[in-house]
Symmetry: C2
Subunit: 185 residues, 2 copies
């Protein structure tokens, strides 16, 4: 038997292939909490896909020392003047970090520390972002095409979506005169 194997997964021609790839999508109906302008939201089709995530979990969840990998694809669009974005979360184990590597499109990585200080980093193809521990993170698509990025995070990090769902970030990213601006709520 040959001891030379094929790789676990491949990402070629913008397509993630391999065994055990987990695929989810998030639609407007799943994201009612996160957008500020509820009136604009109610006028839109709740089935509109805002983002999709493909993930590769080579070890069990909650195992210490392992890593997970995923690609997020955020569709272009706005709800009112707020860009399509991800739910955002802290890690359940707060000190766990994460790397994002932008593949295509343009956007913003919105970050908030535990004192609710919020800032953002520009995302564009080739930009690499380290998300420190104890920092909530969310991404928004500020362009006219899909924004996609790969992510690498510890297998025991977990997700705390509830804090953001209840309290939001202290700033929101809106389009003003065609440009993204981070403003206090």
């Amino acid at each position: 038997m040959s001891s030379i194997l094929e790789p676990g997964i491949t990402f070629i021609n913008k397509e993630l292939k391999g065994k055990n790839i987990d695929r989810i999508d998030r639609r407007l109906k799943n994201l009612k909490d996160i957008f500020f302008d509820k009136t604009a939201l109610e006028k839109m089709d709740p089935e509109t896909v805002v983002y999709e995530v493909e993930s590769y979990f080579p070890v069990e969840h909650d195992i210490e020392g392992g890593l997970f990998y995923g690609i997020t694809y955020i569709h272009p669009g706005t709800v009112g003047n707020e860009y399509f974005m991800t739910k955002g979360h802290f890690h359940k184990i707060r000190n766990r970090g994460e790397f994002y590597c932008t593949l295509q499109g343009e956007g913003m990585l919105i970050l908030m520390d535990e004192n609710r200080n919020t800032w953002a980093e520009k995302m564009y193809p080739g930009s690499i972002h380290y998300i420190k521990g104890n920092t909530a993170h969310r991404t928004a698509n500020t362009g006219n095409t899909i924004l996609s990025f790969s992510a690498f995070w510890p297998s025991d990090a977990g997700h705390d979506y509830a804090t953001i769902s209840e309290q939001g970030f202290s700033k929101i990213l809106v389009q003003r005169q065609g440009k993204p601006e981070l403003i206090s709520r």
Copy 2:
């Protein structure tokens, strides 16, 4: 003051840019232990660069929960019939995993568990490899161009180079009739 910042680092046009990027190279003189054919090795220029590594350490070493990022560039070449390769290591904290993503070139990821079972995975642009915990790993360039890949690993993983330096892997990757083959030593 704008709260919209530039990304920490960028990897654009095959160039890693940003503050605090650590750069090292490993030459034949640094790698005397790892190649099998010492006679062939002695005939070569000890200053020959075998590989280079660019790393980004956004948190302190040995901090739990953080991640590190690096790109390794292995030059094409052989020592006798053994391909140019990295030192190889276990993680000091044995259960820490790692991801490799091949950027360019072709090669092999050589893996060995703690029972000294050795196998390999083919590396080519777009191949993604998860290195489980408790698994020694080394990469070899089997092509005629630079082999480069990005790596993501936990900031507290550490490196145990000594075990490999002393005991090697149980198999070596050699060129036979122009093709890579993994053979017992």
